[in-house]
């Protein structure tokens, strides 16, 4: 016996009526993302740029950032960025690569020496050489590309090519807008972000496949109904499932975001965004795509 009834039952929303607005909305987001990527680019983390990241926690006193910056700039190790993370006692030091050689590894030692007079604890030290950074970019791109291809192939196998095309359009939509989201808000884009993008791809395709499955089934059942109505019907039938799954996943992600600590918060933000955009795209990108691609074979 259900205790809570938050989802509307027996809905009959005309989803497809809004498709033009939705497409306009998505195209606007696309343009904004594109402009943002073009103008301010992505805030790449050291995974991709190469460089040094040191996170430290001072044990007693609060460290004066200006003084620290002055001290570290004297070391002549390139551009040093300082930032507090979470509390005033936690500081992240970033040195982006520029010199492009192995010398950078020495800057870890130099920074540690320069800080030896303060009582601190090194929480995290990362160094990524320029060579590895480039390789990681390539590995990331290849992983994204191959998963798109793999998914495309599977859907093609299980459905028809129209469906596969529609699903891929929705996927590219989600992947691109996630990257755009990272560019607009200048969140750090690192290896974990790529992992998040791939997870989003998986999540979004999951949603799309469920809806497509239903559209295909409805298509077989109602041979006479107009295609737009079939899509509307299928979306309404799957609506409570779509909302339910998005909500449970978001609940879990919110718990991680609030209490999971700042190490993974960027990763979780990407996933939360992805769940929202993935749900939206299944309804308003993947489904209209079928209309536009004219999957309705009954007329042929």
């Amino acid at each position: 016996m259900p205790i809570l009834n938050i989802f509307p039952r027996n809905t009959d929303y005309k989803f497809m009526r809004l498709r033009k607005i939705a497409i306009f909305f998505s195209i606007s987001l696309f343009i904004i993302s594109f402009i943002s990527i073009f103008i301010q680019g992505l805030n790449f983390g050291i995974d991709f740029t190469g460089g040094v990241l040191i996170e430290l926690r001072s044990k007693n006193e609060i460290i004066n950032l200006t003084d620290l910056r002055g001290n570290l700039n004297k070391l002549n190790i390139g551009e040093v960025q300082l930032q507090t993370i979470g509390s005033d006692n936690d500081i992240a030091i970033r040195v982006q690569k520029d010199s492009g050689d192995d010398k950078q590894l020495d800057s870890i030692k130099k920074i540690k020496n320069a800080l030896s007079n303060i009582e601190i604890e090194f929480r995290r030290t990362e160094y990524v050489g320029p060579k590895v950074g480039k390789e990681l970019i390539r590995a990331g791109l290849i992983a994204i590309l191959f998963s798109l291809l793999g998914i495309l192939a599977y859907i093609w196998l299980r459905f028809e090519w129209h469906f596969a095309l529609g699903a891929i359009i929705a996927l590219i939509h989600d992947v691109f807008l996630t990257i755009g989201f990272f560019s607009i808000f200048q969140f750090e884009f690192n290896l974990a972000t790529v992992a998040a993008v791939l997870t989003i791809a998986g999540y979004s395709i999951n949603d799309t496949v469920v809806i497509y499955d239903r559209i295909r089934e409805t298509l077989r059942k109602y041979k006479e109904a107009p295609f737009e109505e079939i899509i509307n019907l299928s979306l309404n039938r799957t609506l409570s499932r779509t909302l339910m799954t998005s909500l449970t996943t978001l609940l879990a992600l919110l718990a991680l975001f609030i209490f999971g600590g700042n190490v993974i918060s960027g990763f979780i933000i990407a996933l939360i965004w992805g769940v929202i955009i993935g749900t939206y795209s299944s309804l308003y990108i993947a489904s209209p795509a079928l209309l536009i691609l004219n999957v309705d074979q009954r007329k042929r």
Partner: protein, 525 residues
Amino acid sequence: MVQFKKWQTFIVILFGILGFIFSIPNFFKSETLNNFPNFFPKKQIVLGLDLQGGSYLLLEVDTNSVINDNLNNFMDEVRLMLRKNKISYSRFNLEEKIITLQIKNQNKKDLLEKKLKKFSNDIEYKFIDDNTLTLNFTDQKLFSIQDTAVLQSVEVVRRRVDEFGTKEPTIQRQGVKRILLELPGITDPERLKKLLGKTAKLSFQVVDEDITSSELKSGKHKPGIVVLPSDKLVDENSEPILYAIKKRDTISGDLLINASPSLDRNSPVVSFQFNSKGGRKFGNITKKYVGSRIAIILDNKVISAPNIREPITGGRGIITGQFTFQEVTDLAMLLRAGALPAPLNILEERSVGPSLGTDSIQSGKFASILGFILIIIFMYLIYGTFGIFANIALIFNLLILLSILTLIQATLTLPGIAGIVLTIGMAVDANVLIFERIKEEIKLGLSPIASVDIGYKQALKTIIDANVTTLIAAVMLFGLGSGPVKGFAVTLSFGIITSMFTAIMFTRILIIIWLKKTNPKVINL
């Protein structure tokens, strides 16, 4: 779908029990676990370096330097051969792994070719024009030099890390010329990095006392001599002292069988011992050069050059120098572990301090338990009795996932914990799909049993399609770089599989039992 075959029931119960048994150790502290009887499973999930604290280092063997060493030795052999056969040559040089030289006497070309063929099968030679000859190693030879160098390096790195005293380090070769080091517990690897950064090639060579200091500085000196600087400077601004070292009569550090730190007249020294061959050689050379100095050379720098007062025949000796005790400890360690065939470069380093690791475990644990509880409450509120069935399946899903990760000894990282939470969120999806479908069938006026039956059948296809596509994306993550992300891929992939299994099998068996027991007229979903 409403019948449940015996073997299916058996599998569900079996996996349920196994999942329970093998996940249990993870809920205890390892000390508590040791007090349990022996038959009790004790394996726990391996925590990634980001959770337990430690260092990850990616090293690359500079194989070009070994290849160049080999080519230089080969050049010496060729030079010797040319001289022996009185073939005059000029512009003998090495560039991009290819040796070129100009042959002056054309009439000896046949002889030269005959001699070159005798050298080895690993050499390729070609006359570009009448008198220009190029020589190079075959690709197989280059590959085998590289391969041997990397294999040896892995061994030496292993010995050095073992000597350094880390618990359960992982040292493995990655790709063609890389070595991956995972060192749990090492949170400040500066000293280890310093030790790995040394090739530690030691040799004992005689100092040529006939060369004047002006000759040394100008760089003009007789052949058979190499000029090397001292290791330590007198003070910061002074120039290193230069030594003229004879190339002949070298004793290599490989002949050492032991080295240990000790004290000599209250200053720290390294005492060493040669094997029998080394001991004999050392005896002969010290006999031959009594009165001269013998330089102790480490990585092409002279550590010290004591006088040979009398022949040393016991095969034992000490290395003196202006050492601190830490330095002699490290040097002795390096000598025991042996020299690296080539320098190592550090390509990547990731170290996590113990406090961050503990914080990550705590916050990860708390967040996942909270997420789990929220989902369970939510499912119950929305689906009532069926929600409870789904929740029981969800708990078993978590237990089975934990046991699989424990049994295959997968590494759990912080993103991996996020992966578990995400699969919990997504595991619900399969049940949601089924329940929503059952609801629809009920609405169409089917009997409880029929609606459950058709609901499952219809939802199953969708569940499989939807999860296979997600699995494709998750598997692609494996190919993506380093530890934490891989950990996420592992938990996500297994999570998808276990969640499909439990959502379909576990809930179904519970619903069937419930249907049989209560025999409801209507299902209120």
